[in-house]
Amino acid sequence: MKALIHWQMVLLGTALQAQAAVAQQATVSGHHHHGQAGTAATYAPPASPNLRHAADAPDHVMDHQVLFSKVTIDQLERRQHNSGALEGSAWFGGDRDRVWLKTEVEQEEGETEKAELQALYSRAISPYWNLQAGVRHDFERESDSRNWGIIALNGLAPYFFEVDSSLFVGENGDSALRVEAEYELLLTQRWILTPEMEVNFYGQNHRNSTTGSGLSDLEAGLRLRYEFTPKFAPYLGVHYEKKFGNAADFAREEGDSPSETTWVIGLRTWF
């Protein structure tokens, strides 16, 4: 972090030196008439004005912090039937370029059902959208972990929908698409209702992770949180999951139901 700030300062310093160079050029060449013809010049600016002025001073105007970070835990929750989930993200960087981490972990009956971690480089491309690229690693139960490359578009859509859509390309030519959307409905300044939805498509079947080609699964949730502070908000809600097509078949073969509705209790926090 310190090193990065240092580099920012060095870059800023270089920029200011470039400015100084421009200014000197300007001093040499910039000598032209002023005042329009015919204007009454009743006021003459002082002949020897404030001539004392600092030479180029050190290259900072304010010691403002230039890099920021935010760790968000969107969902840290307990679900019915001895299951639970964690969904969160973290970013670090400046206004345009950031490093992002995203994670999703799901537990069922005490066992980790699904765990993935994404690492991305993020770049602001428009007022509300970031283009992201990186890698995803799936920690699978049965020892065959998978890696994916990611291109993602993340941001705020009109009508204040927070959208995160990611295209994944796997090592063996696998492909997947995930679209997530979330909305915040303020009942009061502190009671906030959050509907959200995640849809996954896959290019192929994968029995171990119970994903099927085409529309594979959908998750939807409705959570009501109370913001003690913007950074600390426990919630209650309901979570719905449904698998489609081959994914549903894989689930049935494992003896699981292809769709499930559970009550949840959890915490949303960021720092």
Binding site: V22, A26, V28, Y43, A54, P58, D95, Y159
Partner: protein, 651 residues
């Protein structure tokens, strides 16, 4: 209720002024010809006044407690606010400022016209004052009136490093009064300013506790019906903006202070029957714009930003961050009055009492309704309908008005011309300039840089033709530069409103609703004739830009870090037109030179150091570039300043 605990005792006597002022410790020193000096402030912890022409100022840490929690402030001579510095026009003052902090520090003398190495802006004027170091400021006073000082380092201004300056005129004061008080307004937070800034960067609306709720929507539907409500909400929703974004930092974290006293502590000043009282209002806040009134009293505004103006009688006025207004009041001898300063978003207020009797207090009024932004505040004019969104607005520009994209092609290119010595890589950030057809056409039609090679650069749009007459504002069309079309800008005003006759958001209906006369900039007329009667030879149009969602602020879409200095030629007279392409009210401060506000009367142009630019509006002022050097030019909202900042260089 806890009183602020300001420890003066640990500052040794030597740190106070050398000279006559050491004993005059209270704020309420009456002024004016023949006025008597007396202690007239009740609160024991009043602000010290230092007089003379040599001052020792010590910047250090001071324990404070405004909210029940112990905190550390950054102060001058242990006071929050720092001592009132009382100077005399025509004298040369010497200020030895010692820094006892663990960080670099500085003091900037806000509104004082002085050589640039005395201006106190680290990185531009001088190197700053290192921990354990000191700096000797020395300059001649060629002006009188009410000003203030503050740190220009880091976020120290938010932590308490500010104080008032009163310069008594060399000639007899044209303003008659019997008694004289400084009323300095500020905002205090128990949070560290770095945390506040980080919170804003993480969530731009972090401190907004007035966000639109389902209940508000329901009320609107009941009042207007579903269809109209949908139409009204549509633009905001499509643009992903909130009509409740009035202040970034609010009473959610702030305690608002009057002369360093909380509303409960009730700073109190005394007067006697029949006296004319001069109140010198200074907004020394980091982020808070106040609307000020004294229920039951007419205020006669006699000075703005330290400069005498033709007296205007009002009931209420808005005071932007860093502005000062002097008013005269003639209170009735038997009543107490509340000095009531509510914030622009009505999230809190500062308050004090003016009374003939220490036992007497007046009622504290309820705050007025909290304003909501309208289409007008987005610079869309009245007829424009809101099919916004940053990209859709481009379409609207070309369809809905004669400016926007069309003018873009006419003017924008000329700033993009490579300047001698300028690093080619600087161009990379101005993505729009790759349109070479546009570029060539522009350079054919316009002489580069307003006819002044070497003074152009990548610095906004300069106009040299069809300039409006001095004092009457701009005739130029609105040009959105390619740099305004990046990720850092969420909105552009296609038809900016008039920033002159508008009292501002939340005040517009106060005349009708409450029968209060509210000051507008159009009411301000200088008391003495305009000094520099020349017409401007060129005009700079500069846009105030930002992205609320990312909490980024800039000018012309370019953050300070990436910006070139604005080059002015010594002696020239220019016009600066500020166009506010955001939904916030920005107080813009030019160091070193006056901002001569064009209020429609060229003969009596008022001189200001800080000019409020209303959301979606434009406003113009003239500048005589009569001070060599490197000067800061920036928004005075502290957390906007890192981005919304330019260097002005007079060569």
């Amino acid at each position: 209720m806890k009183r602020p605990n300001l420890c003066h005792q640990n500052i040794s006597r030597r740190t106070f002024v050398t000279g006559a002022a050491a004993g005059a410790a209270l704020a309420g020193i009456s002024g004016g010809a023949g006025a008597r000096e007396r202690q007239s402030v009740l609160n024991g912890e009043a602000v010290h006044t230092l007089r003379g022409n040599r001052f020792d100022l010590n910047i250090g840490y001071t324990p404070v407690n405004f909210t029940g929690r112990d905190r550390t402030a950054v102060t001058v001579n242990g006071g929050l606010p720092g001592p009132i510095l009382r100077w005399k026009e025509g004298e040369t003052v010497t200020l030895n400022v010692a820094n006892h902090l663990a960080h670099d520090s500085s003091i900037h003398w806000h509104g004082i016209i002085l050589p640039s190495d005395m201006d106190g802006v680290p990185g531009l004027s001088f190197a700053g004052i290192q921990p354990g170091g000191s700096y000797r400021y020395q300059f001649e006073l060629n002006q009188s009136g009410t000003y203030w000082y503050h740190s220009h380092s880091d976020f120290q201004e938010q932590q308490g490093l500010y104080g008032a300056i009163v310069i008594d005129p060399a000639e007899p004061d044209p303003v008659a009064y019997d008694r004289d008080y400084v009323v300095l307004l500020s905002d205090w937070s128990d949070e560290s300013p770095h945390d506040i800034y980080a919170n804003l960067k993480a969530e731009g609306h972090f401190y907004n506790r007035r966000r639109r709720t389902a209940g508000d929507l329901w009320d609107e539907i009941r009042a207007k019906g579903v269809a109209q409500t949908w139409r009204d909400r549509k633009m905001w929703n499509e643009m992903r903006m909130s009509d409740r974004d009035i202040s970034d930092v609010t009473g959610y974290t702030y305690t608002f202070l009057m002369n360093g006293q909380t509303p409960d502590a009730n700073w109190t000043a005394l007067f006697q029957r029949g006296e004319k009282v001069r109140l010198r209002f200074i907004n020394a806040s980091a982020m808070s714009i106040f609307d000020l009134r004294i229920p039951g009293l007419k205020m006669t505004v006699v000075a703005s930003d330290g400069q005498n103006i033709e007296p205007v009688s009002v009931d209420e006025f808005r005071i932007g961050v860093a502005e000062t207004y002097d008013v005269i009041v003639e209170p009735d001898g038997d009543s107490a009055y509340t000095l009531f300063a509510q914030t622009i978003d009505r999230s809190g207020f500062a308050r004090g009492t003016l009374t003939p009797d220490p036992a007497l207090q007046a009622a504290v009024p309820a705050m007025d309704y909290a304003p909501v932004l309208t289409h007008r505040d987005m610079g869309m004019g009245h007829g424009a309908h809101g099919d916004g969104g940053s990209h859709k607005m481009d379409g609207m520009d070309s369809a809905g008005s004669t400016d926007g994209r069309k003018d873009h092609s006419r003017h924008a290119g000329h700033n993009m011309e490579p300047m001698g010595g300028m690093d080619e890589t600087d161009h990379s950030q101005h993505s729009g300039m790759t349109d070479s057809a546009l570029h060539n056409r522009a350079s054919e039609q316009y002489s580069l840089h307003g006819g002044r090679p070497g003074l152009g650069g990548m610095q906004g749009v300069w106009f040299t033709d069809a300039l409006g007459r001095a004092g009457h504002g701009s005739n130029s069309s609105i040009v959105h530069l390619p740099s305004e079309f990046g990720y850092g800008v969420d909105m552009r005003s296609s038809m900016p409103g008039d920033g002159l006759h508008d009292p501002g958001i939340g005040l517009r209906d106060h005349a009708n609703r409450y029968g209060r006369r509210v000051l507008t900039y159009a009411d301000i007329r200088n008391l003495t004739p305009t000094r520099d009667q020349r017409e401007p030879s060129r005009e700079l149009q500069l846009h105030l830009t930002g992205n609320m969602e990312r909490y980024m602020w800039s000018m012309d879409g370019i953050k300070f870090d990436d910006a070139q200095p604005l080059m002015l030629k010594f002696g020239e007279r220019i016009r600066i037109t500020l166009v506010n392409d955001t939904m916030m009210t920005h107080p813009i401060h030019l160091h070193g030179m006056w901002s001569e506000l064009e209020t429609g009367d060229g003969d009596f142009i008022p001189r200001k150091h800080t000019v409020i630019v209303q959301p979606g509006s434009k406003i113009s002022y003239l500048v005589t570039a009569d001070a060599y050097g490197r000067w800061a030019y920036h928004c005075h909202l502290l957390y906007h300043m890192p981005g919304m900042f330019r260097e002005v260089r007079v060569v």
